[in-house]
């Protein structure tokens, strides 16, 4: 009751509806743009209502792609993005779970040292060490491969750290009960810890999947073979037209399709995601 009052609620709804409108606006623009015939935007101010070409544009994007303008058909790029995002996600989750487990449930020499080694990567995005990392990947012969696309991005201090935080909140007694029940470390990990971490895993799954899906600079650098192009870099390719204009109607259709999978992932896992995030936060 303290927080309820009619005018306040009205005002709050107003702010939120406006806010949602602003937040959604860019994607709305993309959707609108993807329904117009070529050239509509280039010749004047962008329309705010859908045009007649939706079906045609999406059909073009899906079936033909823009292969002749530098990007392979979108299906392949979506698949590459998916493989890369999944590889990064699963890789990050598994190695982070294992290392957090080691750090929390064991005591051993250099534990803190290892923790810092891992933690240091927390805020060193690939952009900062891009040139030498590229060199390493090239030396290992991993250019133009899914391994090259994913493995270098798999180390994850964020996930390790969040799992560590979560493991710290797992009641001590569970592990003790498991030991009294005769479970060894890996059995405990598999039977007790993993199932308990499921909301956290889900939250990180969402974050990592989106991270992987949205990678842009890295695939741009290490793929030269269109076989390995991902959708986000494909879009960037489509908008650099040189002396001719990007085909905006198709670019926007691609943008919409490219945003769809991560949005679906987020919506699908929203409950777990929000819960996982907010719980580890405390």
């Amino acid at each position: 009751m303290v927080e309820n009052n009619r005018w306040g609620n009205f005002f709050a709804h107003l702010v939120l509806i406006l806010g949602v409108a602003i937040v959604i606006f860019p994607v709305y623009v993309a959707i609108i743009a993807s329904t117009h015939p070529p050239g509509t935007f280039i010749r004047g101010v962008m329309p705010l209502l859908p045009g007649p070409n939706a079906l045609e544009n999406y059909k073009t994007v899906i079936t033909e792609g823009r292969s002749r303008a530098g990007t392979p058909p979108i299906g392949g790029m979506l698949w590459n993005s998916f493989v890369m995002a999944m590889a990064i996600t699963l890789g990050k989750l598994s190695i982070s779970l294992l290392s957090a487990f080691a750090i929390v449930y064991f005591r051993f020499p250099f534990r803190i040292f290892f923790f810092w080694v891992i933690f240091l990567t927390l805020m060193l995005p690939v952009e900062v060490r891009i040139v030498p990392t590229f060199q390493v990947v090239a030396d290992l012969g991993m250019l133009n491969s899914f391994a090259g696309l994913s493995i270098p991005l798999i180390a994850s201090a964020t996930a390790t750290f969040l799992f560590r935080q979560f493991f710290m909140t797992v009641p001590e007694e569970l592990m003790e009960a498991a030991r009294v029940d005769g479970a060894g470390p890996m059995k405990f990990f598999k039977d007790i810890l993993m199932p308990l971490s499921i909301t956290n895993i889900a939250a990180l799954f969402v974050i990592m999947f989106i991270y992987g899906w949205n990678q842009y600079l890295w695939p741009l650098l290490i793929t030269t073979d269109p076989e390995y192009y991902t959708i986000v870099m494909g879009i960037q390719r489509m908008v650099t037209g040189g002396d001719s204009e990007p085909l905006w109607h198709l670019v926007m259709a691609t943008v919409v399709l490219a945003a769809l999978p991560p949005i679906l992932v987020i919506l699908f896992m929203q409950r777990l995601f929000v819960k996982g995030l907010t719980e580890t936060e405390k």
């Binding site: 927080e3 306040g8 935007f41 080691a102 080694v117 989106i210 929203q270 907010t278 936060e281």
Partner: protein, 294 residues
């Protein structure tokens, strides 16, 4: 650092568990980082055919270069601007959503998903919206008598990249603020109401101070995001222009390294960035550790 009061005992298992993470970290982070350090002392031609060891030349050049110093300044303005904008908007949304009971989930859904949009794509979208000739925003702004052109106005350009970068981060901040608001015991607000504090006063004297741990956490996260993860936004909108007005450090590393192939300078910049990052990491870590015990 804490462990469980009781731990498993095994000599080799913890190392085996850590191995994948540590090996990847060593190969793809520590090694390249040390390479960057080494390269920052070199001058090479762009094809890598000739190499000279030049000691601190690259660093000296950087610190003597007004453009690098400018980039530092630009980064500061951009990071703070992005952080402030996305956090204040997110806080407003979170406070409003937190009042809702039935519609809370729906609003959350709508506000959460921009998080899924790639920065590079966000950049393209905002570029499109703000395009001086075909974009809807300049058209509308013209209606208000403002002649938008981020190609020739540094201010417009900065505003554009800040909006584009902040937009994406609103969702994330929103979630954390919402969680933070929900973790504030309702009884505190009730106690304040009984203590005669107005709605406004309750927010500023009780809620906001209690959110400060989250606010601080988000501040660091957002500054780091703005400093490093906005590459795609800049690349797709202003490409650092006009006249380097939006050339943030990461973008400059990329341009000098991968576009201009000035590897020595780029490596030196990487080293400086790493130093900044390490400082931020330490601050963040200390802080989080403290908060865990709070």
């Amino acid at each position: 650092m804490q462990t469980k009061r009781m731990t498993f005992s095994s000599k080799w298992l913890p190392y085996a568990l850590l191995a994948p993470q540590v090996i990847i970290t060593l190969i793809f982070f520590i090694w390249p980082a040390s390479q960057a350090l080494y390269q920052s002392f070199l001058r090479q031609d762009i094809f890598g055919l000739r190499t000279n060891f030049v000691w601190f030349d690259n660093f000296n050049r950087l610190f003597a270069d007004p453009l690098y110093l400018n980039s530092l300044k630009v980064t500061l303005v951009f990071s703070l601007g992005t952080t402030f904008l996305s956090m204040s908007v997110a806080l407003l949304f979170a406070v409003m959503v937190n009042r809702m009971i039935r519609s809370r989930d729906s609003y959350t859904t709508f506000l959460v998903w921009p998080y899924a949009v790639a920065p590079a794509i966000a950049g393209v979208l905002w570029w499109f919206i703000f395009n001086p000739s075909i974009g809807i925003m300049p058209y509308m702004l013209k209606g208000f008598g403002y002649d938008w052109n981020h190609r020739s106005s540094s201010t417009d350009a900065m505003i554009l990249v800040i909006i584009a970068a902040a937009w994406k981060q609103i969702s994330y901040n929103f979630l954390f603020f919402l969680a933070g608001l929900q973790s504030i015991p309702h009884s505190l607000i009730e106690a304040a109401a009984i203590d005669g504090a107005s709605r406004f006063k309750r927010f500023w004297t009780i809620v906001f101070p209690l959110l400060s741990p989250i606010t601080f956490f988000l501040m660091v996260v957002n500054v780091v995001y703005a400093m490093f993860d906005t590459f795609g936004v800049i690349h797709a909108t202003t490409e650092g222009g006009p006249a380097q007005a939006t050339n943030i450090l990461v973008y400059k590393v990329y341009r000098d390294g991968f576009v201009n192939l000035n590897l020595g300078s780029s490596a030196a910049q990487s080293v400086i960035l790493m130093a900044i990052v390490i400082v931020l990491t330490v601050i963040q870590f200390r802080y989080i550790e403290r908060r865990v015990n709070y």
